[in-house]
Symmetry: C2
Subunit: 414 residues, 2 copies
């Protein structure tokens, strides 16, 4: 009952959001950015309650850090919303026009998705980010954030609604599911009659729960068991810098390197040199037999290791005898996110770019670039690891749909 009412309001709101002009949307986003800055005091007070509860519940430091808002982070949220306002409008773009032999004129045009649902965990800044992107893409949004951030999210959503109301736009353009129990969340995943798209953002457990339970079309995001293959022709110094960057620049992200594949002809020479650099960050190596022989500090990897997204200072290492074997190994173990070859052999690079079945396949660069901002999209709502609809970083253009307008003068089918 609670959910049906909330979803119905969002469904009704989608029609008026869809009609807003670019100017109306951008103006509203700027007003909302100001509203958030103005409401800093109440948002921080709400956030303090969440932090207090987190500490009382023994929440660990990393999560507490993600949950914490402060002056800079609120300014950051507002600035993110202003940046989305500055991006091109993804709606109303003509993708194709044709006239059929019978005179029917077909126009394929981008339109809003309608109602987008986002299920996420404890980072309250996602609340503002996700709203801004969905709103600019002409959709109403229903947010289900983590229980730990409920007070922060409620305050942020209230501030956004206030900004919408100031602009004469329906406050139902954003809805927050305030019941944070698991049953309500599972029920939400089945509200197909109201919600056009559901995007889960968070850990593997959350994403699996959504995929298993949702009847709403889902875009799966985030899990990244990213590989780097070091071919025998790789430039060792360049390779060491790239791997060091991909493994250690930020360990908790989905585009970090988790698994190394090394050509057997170079493993003895390369791996100890690489380890010299990686050991400055205490990276643990879990290798197959040949890697362990090449590096005494390596621990033996289990088969399970090769499927793992560590999100930690750990790297699995597998040796192969050629590029084909590297491709097969990667396609068997990766998550379809990002994989790279480091090589100076053009033929091997071509084979790898063609053969690896991932959203983003790199040659001679760090996998850490898989990101909507780095790709020039100006924003990102997540990184898709499925093949339907959107693959890789998703910006505004990836959260719209299209329709056909067909104009005739009395055509009937014979």
């Amino acid at each position: 009952m609670y959910l049906d009412e909330l979803c119905l309001k969002a469904k009704n709101a989608k029609y008026s959001v869809a009609k807003l002009t670019r100017e109306e949307k951008d103006n509203a986003l700027n007003v909302i950015a100001k509203s958030l800055v103005d409401d800093e005091e109440s948002i921080l007070a709400a956030n303090a309650k969440d932090i207090e509860a987190g500490v009382a519940n023994g929440m660990h430091q990393g999560l507490l850090d993600r949950l914490t808002l402060n002056h800079e982070r609120i300014e950051g949220m507002a600035e993110g919303i202003r940046q989305v306002a500055a991006l091109d409008d993804p709606i109303g773009k003509i993708l194709d026009v044709s006239t059929r032999p019978n005179g029917l004129k077909l126009t394929k045009i981008t339109v809003p998705m309608g109602v987008i649902g986002i299920i996420y965990e404890s980072r309250p800044n996602v609340t503002a980010d996700a709203f801004a992107l969905c709103f600019k893409a002409g959709s109403a949004v229903i947010l289900k954030g983590g229980k730990d951030a409920i007070n922060s999210n409620t305050a942020i959503v209230a501030s956004i609604k206030k900004g919408l109301a100031q602009c004469g736009i329906t406050e139902d353009a954003i809805s927050l599911i305030e019941k944070t129990d698991r049953e309500t969340t599972t029920e939400f995943m089945k509200k197909k009659e109201y919600v056009d798209l559901l995007i889960p953002r968070g850990g593997a457990g959350l994403i699996k729960a959504v995929v298993d339970n949702s009847t709403i079309p889902v875009i799966e995001t985030g899990t990244g068991n990213c590989h780097i293959f070091v071919d025998e022709s790789a430039d060792f110094n360049e390779a060491i810098e790239i791997i060091f960057n991909a493994k250690t620049q930020r360990i908790g992200v989905c585009n970090a390197c988790e698994s190394l594949v090394i050509h057997e002809n170079i493993v003895k020479e390369f791996l100890p040199k690489l380890y010299e650099k990686l050991s400055t960050k205490n990276v643990e190596i879990r290798g197959d037999k040949a890697s362990c022989e090449a590096l005494s500090e390596a621990k033996e990897a289990t088969e399970e290791d090769f499927y793992k997204e560590y999100l930690d200072y750990i790297l699995s290492v597998k040796t192969v005898s050629n590029t084909e074997e590297a491709i097969d190994f990667i396609n068997e173990h990766n998550t379809g996110h990002s994989d790279a070859i480091l090589s100076k052999n053009e033929e091997n690079i071509r084979k790898f770019l063609q053969g690896v079945d991932s959203a983003c396949v790199y040659a001679n660069a760090s996998t850490r670039f898989t990101d909507g901002f780095e790709f020039g999209f100006g924003a990102e709502i997540g990184i898709s690891t499925q093949k339907l609809h959107a693959r890789g970083p998703m910006g505004l253009e990836q959260i719209v749909s299209y329709k056909y307008l067909i104009e005739g003068n009395g055509q009937v089918r014979g």
Copy 2:
């Protein structure tokens, strides 16, 4: 166990199918077309068993007709495959190229979906059609046809596999699930680790079962509660021809008109004239109060009528006082398939094309044109009624994915 083995073979096959050149694919399709023609005798013998069982089980005439193969229908299947061979290759198309400020070169390129699953009912010609489209799109296909057509499907698939083998292509490019019990089908819908996309083709019950149970990304197809809105400025004669065509040209299809929305200012004059024509095909009218007043032959519609896809000689009629009301009524009752306005008022036409939330929105033409062939796609694997990935008729371009190739020279993220 049976399913895992079959799915694993398809997954392995997808890599070699993905590598085939356009010439290899087109040549194989032509060989397969010939193989089907050559195997007419064995295919018809298998089909005779299905028909015999159908008759024994009291299968009704319409279904028996769909199930029946003959010389012309086998020639038709072969010709359909040859037509797919003649279409452009949808794979390897460069969608976008850019160079980032750091020198990384991004190429967005179309790639095969991988493994596509199709669940369908008793029409054995779908077996050949679906294979041809998926194969041309570079994917392996797993087919689950209706129990009633199992002998026919087995014979068709054997003939296709023979053709593949003649061309030195893995026979696992096509797989038929020969266990036709419901449990196996439901289990198949959860084989997410092997299957990239699942397309149900058939009635509302089949589609609902797939949406409710699948963990594989689904493209929902087919259900069409299509509306035609007759504005007060419509040309009556043109409107009568269009509605007659959309309602009666073929009643069992998803793009047939099921519901009429008429401006209240013209209902008294228009509806009796329309009925004169519709009654030549014995179309039953189920109307709201104003329609029943305008037409004595009309029966009173229930609220349920307005949500119904009749697939029969029945039409519901609702009167409205303006275009906005028509749009709201249609968005509430349609299935997102095809809806039309008949009007000579440009402003109302614009409003309607913008406001109706369907895959195909028409002005002054029959909804019966929603079809891959009519749209010039050269083929069709179904009509999507969801907004994710593909909307409306789906041809080859709608069953591929894309990936990013990122080429660098040592870039790391700062």
